[in-house]
Symmetry: none
Subunit: 190 residues, 4 copies
Amino acid sequence: MRVKDENKQQAIISATIALVNEIGFASSSVSKIAKQAGVSPATIYIYYKNKEDLLVSTYVTIKTCLGDALMADFDASLPVEDALMNTGVNLFNYISANSELFYFKEQFANSPYNDLVDKAKVEAAFLPLFDVLQQSVKDKIIKDVPFELIFSHLYYPIFGLANPRLNPDFKATPDNVRAVMSMAWDAIKL
Amino acid sequence: MRVKDENKQQAIISATIALVNEIGFASSSVSKIAKQAGVSPATIYIYYKNKEDLLVSTYVTIKTCLGDALMADFDASLPVEDALMNTGVNLFNYISANSELFYFKEQFANSPYNDLVDKAKVEAAFLPLFDVLQQSVKDKIIKDVPFELIFSHLYYPIFGLANPRLNPDFKATPDNVRAVMSMAWDAIKL
Amino acid sequence: MRVKDENKQQAIISATIALVNEIGFASSSVSKIAKQAGVSPATIYIYYKNKEDLLVSTYVTIKTCLGDALMADFDASLPVEDALMNTGVNLFNYISANSELFYFKEQFANSPYNDLVDKAKVEAAFLPLFDVLQQSVKDKIIKDVPFELIFSHLYYPIFGLANPRLNPDFKATPDNVRAVMSMAWDAIKL
Amino acid sequence: MRVKDENKQQAIISATIALVNEIGFASSSVSKIAKQAGVSPATIYIYYKNKEDLLVSTYVTIKTCLGDALMADFDASLPVEDALMNTGVNLFNYISANSELFYFKEQFANSPYNDLVDKAKVEAAFLPLFDVLQQSVKDKIIKDVPFELIFSHLYYPIFGLANPRLNPDFKATPDNVRAVMSMAWDAIKL
DNA sequence: GATGAATGAGCCTTCATTCAT
DNA sequence: GATGAATGAAGGCTCATTCAT
């Protein structure tokens, strides 16, 4: 049996991301993606079941990378404030270095395709973070509110600010990044 | 000469919002929208130049309503904390009562169509809010950071939480709402 | 009863001719013609039964004018050669002064709409010419061949030469015109 | 990989010609042509960039065949009169045997699509004929007038006569054909 | 595995025409 | 008489997907 060509698959993923970012989700047809990737439309169907599978898979891959980046070197033994600050800085750094991936993710997450994603799988990376937060609540270090509130203040500001569509003029300087995270900490700390 | 039927235009807008929310942005074809609205596809082109115009116009209308709702009864003479709290509560109330509009707006704002919107026009409603915040910075009541940071902590958590796609389980109870806004205030206050 | 507006009808005819000449027969829709004429599409249906009627009527009008022009001052008492020469010069002059009409006519005559035209009506103007030719055959001045052959040599060269689509570089100078007709005479004379 | 089906392309061309001849240029939609050819509308776009390309390509093919037929066995060493007579007979024969092609060509040449054709390419076949005529002018055998005049008398009568739309009753009998060409010769000879 | 050919369904838009004023 | 609103049908074309090689 011949082996799937890793380069070809990567070319398809890159083409998908680039094209969706450039001309948008709805206009990105399979044949345009194929052309951009330098393969035949039929080839895409060797790697993915259909268009939906291609898009969802690409999204899941990105989301996983993003989760891993955010949690890189996560140290539960640090003071919570510092541990969280690290995740924010990590997130900003990753987004800055991989803006294409982030941009795609935002567009996808707000499209109906998002409903097809297995949330649990995508959120697995954050479990250690959950634990730390849970403990911090018990220790009366952070506010005792539903987790969604904590998360919404921790990361939604970052997502919004890093999105050039929403904030075309925002610059993710180290100062700005630390300021955002510091404000987030003020929001959630007791 | 026949006169333009106001009901017809409203039916088209409603159909657009309902359909986009139901089956998504990319799948909502002009003829499906027409069918849902109970008019001929051709009729849509009497009211809108093309599909893009229909979608963008609908978005701008919604965005304007949202801005107006958020700023309703805005009272610059109140303590900032209270004035801001009011905007948050207004926003939540409006979203709760008009989830369809909000849902459409979120999907639109993260699609490439968003680039076609005249931002200045849409942001006009918020000018009084800008002024109050600016003064509060001078009065050393809130932090002296770029405005985008302030806004990102004030409203992005709400947008995220209110989005059933992102937080299907969140309930906008008065307690939760006040908690979110209170956290936002902690984030931005000096 | 209100009276039909002569100016309006003329505007419609002019618009039809101009538009058909510019963008072609198939692309000239009723609403485009209406816009060019400065009237409502519905107005056209007051003057003409439908699109076909508009086009055919316009053609018949033009064709009649052309026949009249060609036969203007036709003098059966002149020597045939001179009488024919006059028709050719007349034709050239008319075409030069009314190229728009001629251009429309050529396009129409080679379209399937042509089949809808009542030929007899259009050819009525030429009857005196037929008579003269018939007599000339009897007098053994011109060749005894089917009339179509005579006509084909008398006027098709002119039609072809005067058509900028077929002969973009031809100039209808008096010299050229006389040369063409002189050649035509050589073709048909005995 | 599947290979392009030559039969399919030929079916498309034949369908185009047949349909255009039957219902006319403007009414011949791509999907009607596809149906007539027994293929999917989308298939046509594999062979041609768009409708315009389909029509123009078909025309150029026909025009080339016609030029080749007219010039078949062209013998520059014959007396001009005979050489020209041969071209006329060739032309008539070809038209008689391929009236469909001729009919299409006439309709096309008088439509605005004609402007899209590369004239030089289409006229290449006639170069030997040009040479002979040029020499005959020098030899004072034919009249010294612009070439367009010569051509207009040589072939436009044929085109007109062979066109059933213009001359529904004309029969291209050998006698008639020789008569037309003989008249043409009288027109151009010195 | 990889491909370009092939397709029916559907896209957005405009059509010729009629309606209500 | 004159009009812009309204429409079902059809326009050219592209879609996601499968086929044959």
